[in-house]
Amino acid sequence: MAIDAATVRKVARLARIAQPEEKLEPLAKELSGILAWIEQLNEVDTDGVQPMTSAVHMPIPMRDDVVTDGGDPAKVLANAPKTVGGFFVVPKVVE
């Protein structure tokens, strides 16, 4: 399925990646090319096939519901772009 510039704008918005207006058309072309190549999957008969969601050769284990880490705010904040008094500083979330 071909993707148009409007779809690219929507997807970029969903992906939280700013894309300048003049990039939308070239990106649409590029992504359409990749998706056209992917379309060949429709040749495969997958009726009744269970989707494969994991490559692990065992069931997912359960662990005890206990705290194993934490209590070190300095480490948590060590790489933050902005902090004040032991807190992350972020843009206003609620208007």
Binding site: V11, R13, I17, L35, W37, Q50, V56
Partner: protein
């Protein structure tokens, strides 16, 4: 000096044990080799002081009779692995100057066993690429050149720094990761050995995530035995990764040199792709002949869904990547580019921080997971993935392992495939099936093309049967007697 850097890991460990030289001497030689190899751009961060400190500590432990299995061996670490107190960026601008406050499980096990860190290795951004050209630090240059030429070639990707540094004798071995071929293709392009173990062998904890159901760590090394030694230290159960397998780790090195007589080797007919260079075809035939001579039985097998593996991968991997990379929001770590509100800050941060290929994949992933397309693309790809895994299950009822070429060409020139994403993706045509099925795969250098560039053969094994791959890899290594080294130009 150069004699110490040309040692294999095994020979270096033997020399250390025999007190022929100290880890400090061995490490110093490698530190100097790394410092002299800037034109390769393989290391993006050198840690010489740390390396020498670790080497002296290793010498002290050895003197006390407490030497671990890798005691004193200098290694390179792919920048995808978080290293405590040492900048880790996944070669992306969005991680900027990220300095982890924790150590990845795989690297912590290497240090537990006595290894020494020389620094962090260049790679494609977030491991997304097959030529190292997507790195925010610029591409790695392959130490190999075509006979008589001086064109700069790719070392492959994404683990290009790992492969180039091992090929150029800058380290005794390197960590790498493989999501669609990122260990095996660079190994093939540089005349080195690389193994992607069974999914779940190595903990993913502390390894920057790309596509979690496909990502797996493994070593790139000079020999099959070296790869076995490194994989043993890297493997093992980790409660911090719920997909890490709680099973015993075999002594992989004990399989190297074992007879392969009577093993049944499958040759998948679907891997004879159109336009395959005659040299690759010839190398494959040669590999078959070597294994026959070693007493293996050759069986033609069919993996009918092979051609659908790459398109399925280019849904599954971007979908997982778009989800994993959502964490780079500029709030808690890494780059932040302010906007007039929160959403704009997210969008500006990610626009500035991600490179073109990462953006492309995040957008494809977002698209195939979005309302209205989820079933048509994502669920369809997961069903095809099951078909591909079933193909292998059926083949492994008849054979013990599969033999294929590793990559459809030798190393190509930097910039050659840069304009066409799909052409670049086709590099992984022989390797990506293994990631989708979660199986182990190994690349072994087996010959050179007409231009003198290395070519690799790939062995694919049953889940958890790396041992058989090490035996077969050892047999191919012995028969190929691959001794060529890149002539030093850097």
């Amino acid at each position: 000096m150069s004699s110490l850097t040309s040692l294999t890991l095994k020979a270096a460990l033997d020399g250390l044990a025999a007190k022929s030289f100290s880890s400090e001497e061995l490490t110093q030689a490698h530190v100097e080799a790394v410092a002299a190899a800037k034109p390769l751009n393989a290391f993006i961060l050198e840690t010489p002081e740390k390396a020498l400190d670790m080497a002296r500590a290793a010498d002290a432990r050895r003197a006390k009779g407490e030497a671990g299995p890798l005691e004193g061996a200098p290694l390179g670490i792919k920048d995808l692995f978080c290293t405590e107190g040492v900048r880790s960026t996944a070669c992306s601008n969005i991680l900027g100057n990220f300095v982890p406050t924790y150590e990845s499980t795989v690297t912590s096990q290497l240090w537990r066993d006595g290894a020494v860190m020389l620094g962090k290795l260049n790679m494609d951004e977030f491991a997304m690429g097959s030529s190292n050209e997507t790195s925010a630090f610029g591409p790695v240059v392959n130490p190999w050149r075509r006979d008589g030429g001086n064109a700069q070639l790719t070392p492959g990707g994404s683990s290009g720094g790992s492969a180039a540094s091992v090929a150029a004798d800058l380290c005794l071995g390197a960590t790498a990761t493989d999501t669609g071929g990122s260990i095996r293709q660079p190994a093939a392009f540089t005349g080195t050995v690389g193994i992607k173990p069974t999914y779940g062998r190595c903990s993913r904890w502390g390894v920057v995530a790309f596509a979690s159901s496909l990502d797996q760590a493994g070593p790139i090394a000079k020999t099959v035995e070296d790869a076995a030694i490194l994989l043993k230290s890297m493997s093992g159960h980790d409660p911090k990764d719920s997909t890490s397998l709680d099973i015993e780790v075999p002594d992989f090195a004990s399989f190297v040199g074992k007879s392969v007589k009577g093993l049944r080797i499958g040759i998948p007919k679907e891997y004879r792709v159109d336009n395959m260079p005659a040299e690759i075809e010839k190398l494959w035939e040669q590999g078959i002949a070597w294994l026959k001579e070693a007493g293996c039985e050759i069986v033609e097998v069919s993996l009918p869904h092979t051609k659908y593996a790459l398109p399925a991968y280019y849904i599954v991997a971007p979908a997982e990547a778009s989800s994993n990379l959502a964490r780079y929001d500029g709030m808690r770590y890494g780059l932040r580019v302010d906007g007039s509100n929160l959403i704009e800050t997210y969008e500006n941060t990610r626009a500035a921080g991600f490179g073109a290929e990462v953006k492309r994949r995040v957008m494809i992933g977002t698209y195939v997971l979005s309302a209205g397309y989820y079933d048509a693309y994502y669920v369809k790809a997961l069903k095809v993935r099951r078909r591909i895994a079933d193909d292998f299950d059926q083949a492994f009822e008849k054979v013990d392992a599969l033999l294929t070429p590793t990559a459809p060409s030798a190393a190509f020139g930097l910039g050659e495939n840069a304009d066409d994403p799909v052409a670049m993706y086709l590099n992984d045509i022989f390797t990506v099936t293994v990631n989708l099925a979660g199986l182990p795969g190994m690349s072994i250098p087996a010959g050179v093309d007409a231009g003198g560039l290395p070519l690799g053969l790939q062995l694919i094994g049953k889940a958890l049967d790396e041992g058989t791959l090490f035996s077969l890899g050892g047999a191919i290594e012995k028969a190929a007697d691959f001794k060529a080294k890149p002539a030093r130009w850097w």
